[in-house]
């Protein structure tokens, strides 16, 4: 009975109710959207590398090394010698060592020179290996394996020939155009920076840079590499190996734990994160104020209605309840609308976020933090609706 009355009462005041629902919907959408994307970005971000125990580069900051080795952002300060790579590979605690070389690009996409081992040992998300969508991993020095997005954006097929440029950016003046590469493999989408990377063999990269030596059969062992990814035999040794590398006498190097560095990096973004949360909180507060204002205005115009209800036998509590139920109906309608819109928006923007920012967004799920938010939204709205409800209560006792 009371629910039907509240519903009909809202329908009767459609225009102001709809606008209130719209304001509420937007605020709930912003709140849940920000929370969801924040959460997803964090997950996506922290899944960009896994299964690698240490990343070694020239002596630099932990953040810098992480950015250029994993995210292909910024530039390496210096390279480390091939000898150091050999030494690390021989270390008794090291299970595998994969060298990577950065610095070249193809149409704006970074080129990563590495060994076939990279595809065996590099993992992302929860220990997931890189998988091929088409073709094969490179075996020969002539081969190139493209990240999913590179192939998709530039519309490359297996067998196409590509040229890489020195430096980064799509308009480099030094093109290694005498030495085309042949695409042998295209990787599946990972939602990590791997998607935007062009993988070539380390030797081949060396050959491109030393054209004189470019002949099959010549020793193309590189002089240096940008960074080395290490897998250890036992994780317990991680810190001792890290210390050994950091204090290496022959060459100044830095070793980082990717997980720790990622977490630390994310920590440094906390300000941004908190700002987003505060803004979405404020948007919600303004929507709740709008709801309260709307209800207060409705109480004014419903004075006679409330008097009538009281005279017919409604208790003051019934009057409070009906206002509360009206507020809750508005909030619940807004939440449902917001969720529907959010699911639709995420579905539409999923591809854009993945390709532009390499953030993989999963469909929204209500089991996580969101349900806490939804309960808070209803709680806060009920508290705010108490103001008009008590006004109605007081008015009805006159």
């Amino acid at each position: 009975m009371i629910l039907a009355i509240a519903r009909k009462s809202l329908m009767y005041r459609k225009s102001s109710v709809i606008i209130t629902i719209l304001a509420m919907t937007i605020s709930v959408m912003v709140m849940l959207g920000v929370e969801h994307i924040r959460h997803q970005a964090k997950v996506s971000f922290s899944s960009s590398v896994s299964g690698v125990d240490l990343i070694v580069g020239a002596r630099t900051g932990q953040l810098n090394l992480l950015l250029y080795s994993v995210f292909r952002m910024g530039s390496p300060t210096a390279n480390i010698s091939w000898q150091s790579y050999e030494n690390l590979k021989q270390n008794k605690d090291v299970k595998w060592a994969v060298p990577i070389s950065l610095g070249d690009s193809h149409k704006g996409y970074r080129v990563l020179g590495t060994t076939p081992d990279y595809f065996t040992f590099f993992k992302y998300a929860e220990e997931q290996s890189l998988e091929l969508q088409n073709g094969a991993f490179f075996q020969d020095t002539f081969d190139v394996v493209l990240g999913h997005k590179v192939a998709q954006q530039l519309n490359y097929q297996i067998g196409d020939k590509i040229i890489i440029s020195h430096g980064i950016g799509s308009t480099s003046f030094t093109k290694h155009d005498k030495n085309p590469f042949v695409i042998t493999g295209i990787l599946q989408a990972t939602g990590t920076p791997v998607d935007q990377t062009v993988h070539v063999s380390l030797q081949r990269l060396e050959a491109v840079h030393t054209p004189a030596a470019f002949q099959r059969g010549l020793d193309l062992t590189p002089q240096s590499v940008t960074a080395i990814m290490l897998g250890l035999k036992s994780r317990i040794k991680t810190f001792s190996v890290q210390r050994a590398i950091n204090t290496d006498k022959q060459e100044p190097m830095t070793a980082i734990l990717p997980g720790v560095a990622l977490a630390e990096f994310w920590q440094s973004m906390a300000v941004l994160e908190n700002t987003l949360q505060i803004v979405s909180g404020l948007v919600f507060v303004s929507a709740v104020l709008g709801l309260t204002a709307m209800l207060i205005a409705s109480i004014r115009e419903r004075k006679e209605e409330i008097r009538l209800m009281r005279m017919v036998g409604a208790s003051p509590f019934f009057i409070v309840l009906i206002i509360q139920i009206e507020a809750l109906l508005i909030v619940i309608t807004s939440i449902i609308t917001a969720l529907a819109l959010l699911v639709a928006c995420l579905a539409i923007s999923k591809n854009y976020l993945l390709t532009q920012y390499a953030i993989g967004i999963n469909p929204i799920s209500l089991v996580t933090n969101s349900s806490f938010y939804l309960i808070s939204i209803m709680g806060i709205s009920s508290i705010a609706a108490l103001i008009p409800a008590l006004m109605a209560y007081k008015g009805s006792k006159r």
Binding site: M1, A4, I5, Y12, E305, M311, G313, A314, S315, F317
Partner: protein, 227 residues
Amino acid sequence: MLIQLHEVTYAYPSNKNKTIIQIKDWQLAQQQKHFLYGPSGSGKSTLLNIVSGVIKPTSGRVEVLNERLDKLKQHKLDKFRAQNIGYIFQKFNLIPYLNAFDNIHLAQYFAANTKKQQANADKTIMDLLEELQVNIDDCQRPVSQLSVGQQQRIGIARAFINQPKLLIADEPTSSLDQDARDSFITLLNKLCANHNCNLLFVSHDMSLQSYFDRTHALNQINLANKD
């Protein structure tokens, strides 16, 4: 006794110094049609609120249908009002967003003690609407779409639905012309006789007193407003 007030005073809780109602003794017998003459500003609405139990007096004894209203708890007062008192306002007798049927049903909802009573409600409503010659088809339409005359009849039906023993009509004829007014009062009297209900008719129009058995002038009963 129908209504019995003794040493009743009322002042708003927010302004305790200004007494709005001060009644020494006022008694209304059952089985009579009462006319209460109350010009505006005589404390009429407050008195009616006290008699119907919407508010409690600041002091004094209020007895309606032999029930001490000043002693009853709030929820019992609400129930008592719903079950025993029918009320007709000058205007706004119906909730505009509910249809006629739901309006009457709401009054029944507040009066019913059990779910079973609520279930038996529909037939009673239909009978009453038929007695008042309201077209049943109109009952499903929002009341805001109905004519003023129809709305008034539905308002009367709502007031009578719980077989009240006291009907308070608060200026119900102020917006009616002479002919409509006469037929309205005749209808009200007839219904009260049929349903064995006492009538307290309130108006500022002294010329209506000829329709009733007893006349009470509020400005003589209420001693508060003599400044």
